[in-house]
Symmetry: C2
Subunit: 156 residues, 2 copies
Amino acid sequence: MIWRLNQGPVRTARGRGRLKVQELWPGLPEWLPLPAGRLIPAIIQDAASGMVLMLVDLNQEALALIAATGRVHYYQPAKRKVVAKGEASGHFQDVVEIRLSCGGDQVILKVRPAGGACELGYASCFFRRLGEGGWEIADPKVFDPEAVYPEIAFSH
Amino acid sequence: MIWRLNQGPVRTARGRGRLKVQELWPGLPEWLPLPAGRLIPAIIQDAASGMVLMLVDLNQEALALIAATGRVHYYQPAKRKVVAKGEASGHFQDVVEIRLSCGGDQVILKVRPAGGACELGYASCFFRRLGEGGWEIADPKVFDPEAVYPEIAFSH
């Protein structure tokens, strides 16, 4: 279990009172030491509403960037690189809490999103619900994807 | 995108008014046709509280069992087989809604759990939160794992 790998020295900040969450991120790569090339799935959840927004993979570089910026970064397989969520749309996601699974191999990033998470214009990528006719759109659009992502040709 | 693969015939039930969610499950393997051996990640979320409980993988067999029973089943890599959530603990999870990601390759199962999801005694497997000293336990136990899982030797 990854969480057992590092029971390292107590941070010197202990005793100064409770840290703000932003002050914790620099410790993230230390507390979740990922081997190079290894991915860990991260559920991105709206901290206020509890809505699940995305399911992405993190690698070492993404963890370091989350720690450095306080914002969601993830490994995008199609681009074969780490991207900042919001780098094209401005819909950044500020991380306010990080949870680890019992197995130490999955995380939840609870976030404050600056806008819809889905490139198709929805708050969440999980906007389709199984209905009697198959997958139906269950949520309203929260932005116009053609205005936000002009470089993408939409067929939807 | 998987959801595009099956825009098949409208279910004959259409026109009888809105179906109960239980009546939809038999259509699940039809609406999410997984090739043999392929896994799709499923976020298990408490339908009432929004709490994320688990992140598991589904295969063809798990989808068929969810459809047949209305309860969460998933592929457990350690056992190399599909298990019913709750088969050892009695903490079954009744599925009340199924969501599909924009890419058609991830799902959310919103559930009514009959008890804690985590074998360590917690409602959610994500009971650890990053704090100043590393991963700290953020949630209360909701059951005694030694009483519920007597066959497992706990060192926690």
